[in-house]
């Protein structure tokens, strides 16, 4: 598996897109820190970008890599290599290389600005961790989609829809529900629904860490009570881990049953 991981990783690291992705975060980090001297504010702007971008890039690179390496995969399948290792290796290779672009791209400018001396170090660390977790989650979802759809165009379409759903549509539906059921106390329900959307979960987790729960409106109190505590943070990181483990399990399940 390590050999396949290595090939997937270097294959992607060699591609132009990885550099673009890395350079994007690098320049973003420097620009943000240059524009607002306050590291705390930079972290918040970064949050909004990371929550949209890491899932999008994870999804797109995930499907793209799967379809582009189909020939390589077929070659591997005839060799004495365990099937699940082929797919896990490829998955880890791409998720790791994307996460590395994120960690290095943002880590370098923030280190240069002395993040270690700042009180924001913990928030910054959580932000990067969440960015990496979202990458692992969405690459896994993308691999599942690509395994299901033989047709590349359909696969891409469905992958983008999935991203749209979690990044935009889910919140839209949720807002409509809030408006329609205005009279009911939906706080607990709202807390419950975030579990099913890794992007929302990440957003709330970080916002509450940053202590700007006022932005969240009237449901804020319930969230603050939950996520603000260490227990809340621990449980939401656990839920995010489930969001990685379940799709990866399904990759293994699906790949064992697929014909090539």
């Amino acid at each position: 598996m390590l050999k396949i991981l290595k090939y997937g990783f270097f294959d992607l690291m060699r591609s132009r897109w990885s550099y673009i992705y890395f350079l994007f975060y690098l320049s973003l980090g420097f620009i943000l820190l240059f524009l607002n001297q306050d590291v705390g504010k930079a972290v918040i702007t970064l949050l909004n970008i990371i929550l949209i971008l890491t899932p999008l890039i994870g999804t797109l690179f995930g499907v793209m890599y799967y379809y582009n390496s189909r020939e390589f995969t077929e070659l591997l399948l005839a060799q004495p290599i365990k099937r699940s290792n082929i797919f896990l290796g490829q998955y880890l290779g791409i998720a790791l290389s994307l996460s590395l672009s994120l960690v290095l791209g943002l880590g370098i400018p923030f280190l240069a600005y002395g993040i270690f001396q700042s009180s924001e170090i913990f928030n910054f660390f959580i932000l990067i961790l969440i960015g990496a977790m979202l990458t692992f989650i969405f690459v896994a979802l993308a691999f599942n989609i690509a395994l299901i759809f033989e047709d590349k165009i359909k696969g891409f379409g469905f992958a983008i829809l999935t991203w749209l759903f979690f990044a935009v549509i889910y919140d839209g539906i949720f807002l409509i529900l809030l408006l329609v059921f205005d009279d009911y106390p939906l706080d607990k329900f709202a807390l419950f629904t975030t579990v099913f959307n890794p992007i929302d979960l990440s957003r709330i987790l970080i916002l509450l860490k940053l202590d700007i729960s006022a932005l969240l409106g009237y449901t804020g109190a319930v969230f603050q009570n939950f996520f603000g505590t260490n227990f809340g943070m621990f449980s939401s990181i656990t839920v995010l881990s489930f969001w990685i483990v379940l799709p990866v399990t399904f990759i293994i399940y699906k790949s064992k049953r697929k014909d090539f």
């Binding site: 090939y7 020939e71 077929e74 290599i81 014909d259 090539f260």
Partner: protein, 235 residues
Amino acid sequence: MIVIKDLHKKFGKVTVLDGLNLTFEDKGIHTILGPNGSGKTTLIKSILGMVIPNQGSIEFNGKQILGEWEYRNQISYLPQIAYFPQNLKVKELFQMINDLRPGSKNEAKLISLFQLEPYLDKKLGNLSGGTAQKVNIVITFMFDSPLIILDEPTVGLDPVALIRLKQLIIEEKEKGKTILITTHIMSLVEEISDNIIFILEGKIYFEGKIDSLKEQTKQSNLEKAIANILEETYA
């Protein structure tokens, strides 16, 4: 070596293998024949574990292959269509295969046999069909496996390469290997096969020596014998 029992495979609604039973115990060259789309490639890919059967079992040296992978150490496989990462160089592909499956032996000899030296620095995506097939052949024969499976190995080859391939196959047979071939070139079949397996409608229609197939169809020529079977079933 391989025992296949009651193998069924459907793709969607299309039944490709329909209760196929087959046993290869003997060393030598076994040729799988059958019209286009009769399931030859599907059968081969089932043996390799690339296609998962709906029903039935495949044993390799006494062990079920389902979910296993170590047994593929004993197999060299030449796919019908060469699946190569397009932007890799020929040289890099050889290195990669060596890295993933250690123990290759004849690489240099095979490269010169098929005169691939000038192509080593070319990208796989830019090779002509015949040259890609030669690369495919090198990758297959560079391992010393007791079972060699060749799915239409002659496609795109020029006459010189074809003769060399034939010699290569015969050499391997003389080393005591089991070789499984599919091809539509009847002269090749007549020349090298020890055993013929004819697949039709998802089952084995005939298995045995060329002579007994000729006898059974009352034809003196293999090509006619095959055509005879096909015409009967089309009618």
